[in-house]
């Protein structure tokens, strides 16, 4: 059932706007409507002044900076109840100013260390290539070494450079070269320190790339540098650990506060976003929204207590245009509540139309049970779904698990009726069907007839509801279409009953007449096109009933897979191997047994059942409320 909603209008002085919005957020039951969508109200859209826009921009910027800090500090792992002060915005700004430089420094340090750790091993390979060619002169004080790596295709450049250096230093430099690998030749230049500038500029002119090492490493010949590099590589992880510990310390001190400030700011921003939905005159603001009927007087009273007599809260007439925009709250008894998620998955019902949740709560688990129909699988599914339900507090996943548990209950019941426990294992252990063994060949026809009968009953109920809905809505097209289907279906049932000798053959003529009348009524709803479409639609209706055969088909597939598991286990020759094979196949069947009946039962509802009566298109009810407790003095 839908909760009764009232369209309301709130008119107050602009000076009270913030107070009113605060009170509405606290009440948390008014769904605010965009004024431009409400033609019944004549007021211009509210224009935000410059100061307000600037404030929103600042709040958004501050919230983004808080989020950035939280991301860098790893976020708040758990939430504490932090009471925010009235001036929390100022505190948040000061907090950001204090924390940002510290976090920035730590991040820069951490990134530098990580990049150093990644790059140093690359230098190690090049330095090792130079080790075998270090001349004695490299160790003399007053000398300096430069390593050069050149592709072997350009080895001629090295010779020219060597000649230039020897000329420049008057033979005081020493140059040794070696092939590092198939494509690279390394050269080590040892020269007196006073020639450093000239040699570096010469290398630059000749476009020879020297081996440049990080400044953190000691200067000297390659073996000294390599030793320094190893010391550095060993030290970096410790330094990183210190930086991370400092970050963790900051996170422990600040993250809870940052998260609380961010939530409060985002809440304020969300609250101010509704301003664009409001309207105004020169002195007043106008707010239009929806409210559950039973809350109206409380809201009226609360707002008047907040600002006195200078506010008008009144109900506005529910016109046909407004009726299309009523937000929907589904109201169902507790056992049917989880099924609301499945209705929401398709679409909410339109206001004033039938909410199919309770019908779904009745039929869907029965269909699930009829399809799975196995005591063993049912028990396992029941235990698993109940166990998992305890770990979840709310949400669609919990709803699905509850539905699965109810379906598993029905599955156990049908398991006894079919005499199945892990397929044929129950029978082998002495279990007998209380109704019929669906897997046996002689009962196949009975099983098919049963599922068709279930389909016929389900669809007939859907059509009766559809006719009732069409009558309530005074929709002639729907009435003719659904009424025609119902009449035609009754005719078809009578024909089947006569053909199977349940009814006397004298009823055949009225049965055919009913069938034809039904098809004509269906066609009449479509005008001239109905001459062709009426019979086609009726064939579609028969297809809908045949679709319920899936209850038998999916169920039989499950039984035979279980039978295969049991038979293969018996043929394995080895008890342990047999048990392992059987367990694996039964586990697969259990997963399929949870998934397949759910999807197919859902489909029978969405496609076959709902289409006969369901009017979807409702808007979700989104009350204007705070995500954080507003009794914190904010």
């Amino acid at each position: 059932m839908n909760v009764e909603m009232l369209p309301i209008e709130i008119i107050g002085l602009k000076r009270d706007l913030q107070n009113i919005l605060h009170a509405l957020r606290k009440l948390g039951c008014v769904h605010i409507e965009e004024l431009v969508e409400t033609q019944e109200i004549s007021a211009r859209p509210l224009t935000l002044d410059r100061e307000m826009l600037q404030e929103q921009e600042e709040l958004g910027f501050l919230a983004a900076r808080l989020q950035g800090l939280l991301d860098n500090l790893g976020g708040a792992s758990h939430r504490l109840d932090i009471t925010l002060e009235q001036d929390y915005r100022l505190q948040a700004r000061q907090g950001v100013e204090t924390l940002l430089p510290k976090v920035q420094t730590l991040i820069n340090r951490s990134e530098k260390l990580k990049s150093e750790l990644a790059s140093l091993p690359r230098y190690e390979a090049s330095l090792r290539a130079l080790l075998p060619i270090i001349p004695q002169s490299a160790r003399l004080p007053g000398n300096r070494s430069i390593g050069v790596l050149v592709s072997r295709e350009h080895v001629g450049v090295l010779e020219a450079v060597a000649k230039h250096i020897l000329d420049l230093t008057a033979g005081r430099a020493e140059l040794v070269a070696r092939d590092v690998d198939k494509s690279t030749r390394a050269m080590l230049i040892v020269f007196p320190v006073e020639f450093t500038q000239e040699i570096e500029s010469l290398l630059g002119r000749e476009d020879v790339s020297r081996l440049r090492l990080p400044t953190e490493l000691e200067d000297g010949p390659p073996d000294v540098i390599l030793a320094s590099l190893h010391r550095r590589m060993a030290a970096i992880p410790d330094e990183l650990e210190i930086v991370e510990a400092m970050q963790a310390e900051l996170a422990a001190e600040w993250c809870q506060k940052l998260a609380a400030w961010r939530d409060a700011l985002q809440d304020e921003l969300e609250a101010s976003s509704v301003l664009s939905c409001l309207g105004e005159t020169d002195l007043t603001f106008v707010l239009v929204g929806w409210i559950p009927a039973k809350e109206f007087s409380q809201v009226q009273q609360s707002l008047q207590e907040q600002v006195g007599e200078t506010i008008l809260v009144r109900q506005i007439p529910l016109t046909s245009t407004l009726r299309k925009r009523v937000p929907i709250i589904l109201r169902n008894p507790q056992p049917a509540k989880p099924f609301e998620s499945l209705v929401n998955l398709l679409a909410l019902p339109r206001y004033g139309h039938l909410d199919p949740t309770r019908l779904m709560a009745l039929f869907l688990p029965i269909f699930f049970g009829m399809i799975l129909g196995d005591v063993g699988y049912g028990l396992l599914l029941l235990l698993i779904s109940l166990g998992l339900t305890r770990k979840l507090n709310s949400g669609v996943a919990r709803d699905v698990l509850i539905i699965l548990a109810i379906g598993a209950g029905w599955s156990i019941l049908f398991g006894f009726l079919y005499g199945e426990a892990f397929g044929t294992l129950g029978e082998q252990l002495g279990m007998h069907a209380l109704w019929f063994e669906r897997a046996s060949a002689e009962h196949l026809a009975g099983l098919l007839v049963m599922t068709l009968a279930v389909g016929a009953i389900h669809l007939t109920l859907g059509l009766i509801l559809g006719v009732w809905e069409a009558y309530k809505e005074k929709n002639r097209t729907h009435l003719l279409d659904r009424g025609g289907m119902l009449v035609g279906l009754m005719g078809l049932f009578l024909i089947v009953a006569v053909l199977t000798d349940f009814l006397p053959s004298s009823l055949m003529t009225p049965a055919i007449a009913l069938l034809i009348l039904g098809i004509v009524l269906m066609g009449a709803s479509l005008g001239w096109l109905g001459i062709l479409m009426g019979p086609i639609e009726f064939i579609g209706l028969i297809g809908n009933i045949l679709s319920y055969l899936r209850i038998a088909a999916i169920g039989l597939a499950s039984v035979y897979l279980a039978k295969v598991a049991n038979d293969i286990a018996g043929m394995a020759g080895n008890l342990i191997v047999g048990i392992i094979i059987a367990l694996l196949i039964h586990a697969l069947n259990l997963v399929l047994g949870a998934f397949s009946p759910t999807i197919h039962s859902l489909r029978l509802h969405y496609v076959e059942f709902f289409r006969k009566f369901y009017e979807s298109g409702g808007r979700p009810y989104q009350p204007f409320k705070s995500r954080i407790p507003l009794d914190q003095g904010l």
């Binding site: 998955l345 196949l444 045949l546 055969l549 038998a552 088909a553 999807i599 489909r603 969405y606």
Partner: protein
């Protein structure tokens, strides 16, 4: 011989219908996955669309059952 042909006929009725359903569901499913990525609230409608061609294989099953029951 007759029993074998009946069984082959029943197998073809389900198998060919299943291929048809699979082809249809593959196309609908891939398009549906794209829709859900853009618009997650359309999940219910996509399940519905993917489920529609399943009727073919169920009708195939009905035909196979008739072949087995009436022909066998």
């Amino acid at each position: 011989m007759d029993a074998g042909l009946t069984a082959i006929g029943a197998g073809l009725a389900v198998g060919l219908a299943a291929i048809g359903t699979g082809l249809a569901q593959a196309r609908i499913g891939s398009a549906g996955a794209g829709v859900i990525a853009e618009k997650p609230e359309a999940l219910g409608s996509i399940i519905l669309l993917v489920a529609i061609p399943e009727t073919m294989v169920i009708l195939g099953f009905a035909v196979a059952a008739m072949v087995l029951l009436l022909g066998g």
